[in-house]
Symmetry: C2
Subunit: 365 residues, 2 copies
């Protein structure tokens, strides 16, 4: 991990230089982990061109020496605050201005830092590390492939195990349990299992409705692997009889998804990509029934940059990994969403997920 972390810190320092900042205090634990390899909590990274110091406490002393041997660590004693240590370090570092993560620092923390740190200007920054995290390096893509494999193996077992008496909640819990058996740390978010009309809610929470109560079920799930990387998929499974309506809605959604996936390449904007799927659904007459963005980046967070929606100007670059998940939601009837995870490559794209989407075989029971 250490050479990779070092390369990431160098890239961050280059970004800081552009903003004319000599140092930054990183407080978002996911960003700290990304920049150091440290997997614990309650710790902050103080980074300048000359030093990289992890401020932590005695609970994590051993872990830090194992996970990030290349880093200096400042272990605070129980009587000492993080901010007192920070103040002491800054006074020795000879910086006049330091950035802090404005969206991951509470007003209380900011006040405490302000009162401890003198002669240094605090400047709020947003999205710097998040910008770096958009482009996955080779190690990260391997982690994402693992998280996807755990999710897909889990889904295969679940699909084979479904019975009409099972509730949405039971199916969701069962799926998480199976993914853990395949090595996942857990589900990457609260799994959605939505039977029939429940599938009309894009963020449906599993209820005690039984799978057998309607002809189809939407499952939106993913795994977090041990390194913290997340996968995210959605499939619709039907049972009994395949109705013309489900066939229609499913095919419109699938066609929109396929058109968008095939358009993925470096240089296209997220807005354009969203528009490809959206116009395809609009042409079929369901434009107003697709009420959310086309997708989002995945990585150490289940939702991260880039956002893929109608107003996102981000341009795709090789190494980005995004979900492509158009959906059509009809309140009285239900909904269909189909979601895959796609890597942007130099040449175009690679679909990382592989659960079959052919409606004929997307069935259970």
């Amino acid at each position: 991990m250490s050479s990779q972390s070092q390369a990431r810190r160098k890239r961050l320092l280059r970004l800081l230089k552009k903003k004319q900042l000599g140092a930054i205090l990183v407080s978002n634990p996911v960003n700290v982990s990304y920049l150091t390899g440290f997997t614990g909590d309650d710790s902050m990274l103080l980074l300048s061109s000359k030093r990289a110091i992890l401020i932590s406490d005695s609970r994590f002393e051993t872990q830090i020496s194992q996970e990030c041997p290349d880093l200096d660590a400042e272990i605070r004693s129980s009587g000492q605050s993080m901010y007192q240590i920070l103040s002491r370090l800054l006074s020795k570092m000879d910086v006049s201005e330091i950035g802090f993560e404005a969206s991951n620092t509470t007003y209380s923390m900011w006040q405490q830092i302000n009162s401890e740190v003198s002669n240094v200007t605090l400047t709020g920054t947003t999205g710097l590390v998040e910008e770096l995290r958009q482009i996955k390096d080779a190690g990260e893509i391997t982690e994402l492939r693992e998280a996807i494999q755990q999710a897909e193996k889990g889904f295969a077992v679940l699909q084979a195990s479904l019975v009409p008496d099972m509730t949405e909640q039971e199916a969701a819990h069962e799926l998480e349990h199976i993914m853990r058996r395949f090595g996942a740390k857990g589900a990457s978010f609260e799994i959605i299992v939505a039977v029939g009309t429940r599938a009309a809610l894009p963020h449906a929470r599993p209820t005690t409705r039984k799978l057998g109560e309607a002809g189809f079920v939407l499952i939106d799930w993913g795994a977090t692997n041990q390194a913290g990387y997340n996968s995210d998929l959605t499939r619709v499974l039907w049972t009994g009889r395949l109705t013309p309506k489900l066939t229609k809605i499913y095919n419109v959604t699938l066609e929109a998804q396929q058109k968008a996936i095939e358009a993925i390449r470096p240089g296209i904007s997220c807005r354009e990509l969203d528009n490809i799927a959206r116009s395809s659904i609009e042409k079929a007459g369901y434009g107003k029934k697709f009420g959310h963005g086309l997708g989002h980046g995945i990585g150490l967070d289940i939702h991260e940059a880039p956002r893929v929606g109608p107003s996102s100007e981000t341009v795709l670059e090789p190494g980005m990994v995004i979900t492509v998940e158009p959906g059509i939601y009809l309140p009285e009837w239900g909904g269909v969403r189909i979601e895959d995870d796609v890597l942007v490559t130099k040449e175009g794209y690679e679909v990382l997920t592989s659960v079959p989407k052919d409606l004929e075989i997307s069935r259970w029971g």
Copy 2:
């Protein structure tokens, strides 16, 4: 829920009056839920003596009308920011100063509020709703009893299912799965299953070490019920032969815990309570091996006020629910921690948890 929520908001208004604040913006989602009954995300409560308004978005419109019919809701459209709505509401409310939750408001949020809201002073507050939440009402105690029952039923099944080849991770995942079968939403924190020397780490994460690799295992677990209330217990189970060392350390820990529990009554300070367990362990010669506080409040958060430690001046009051969890940690050998959840009553205390602690029967295999 609505009359209970209303009573809670009244108590908060009384607290605000003492601080000479006419209104508050509640941003911590757990506090919003406590004060309104609303269980969704991304919403804020604006509260004054005259109005209680939930600022939310269209995803939650139906849910709000179902969960909090007594509240006014301001549903923002996708183009509108939360802060624009807030500004408009405040200008109509005739308040010159408003409190905000400084520990649950990021610097970015504070900046945005500041730039939208004019003619109103923003004053950071800390711990106001958390202070109210210390005292559980009858409905909350029922919820906590349920979360405890889910945890205890799960543990009984797990204890009966343990086999030497099972890893710490497998046991942890199994326990969460079983608790869900008994109705839990999930585990209330990442379950600790720590075999032998691993138990010397108070915050051990489950590894692939097998249960059979040592003579005892420490399990620290709890359930979150569907209403979001949390339980928290710790037990040590042994297998094979009961060693004199385990017997010794276990009995010292148990005696310290029992002395502390028996001292629980309204009027005693958390510091004094901690000291009762601590001196008991010190007398046995293990004072330096008990490196954390005696316990903490539980409720909608797994760790909440009051803190029960050597420097906590909070005085116990009827309705508080705290954990009592002394521990002894010996790096080369392992550790013992015993933890129960205790309600402070008018007369003294009621231990809400009931998993047996007799060492003779605390075994598996």
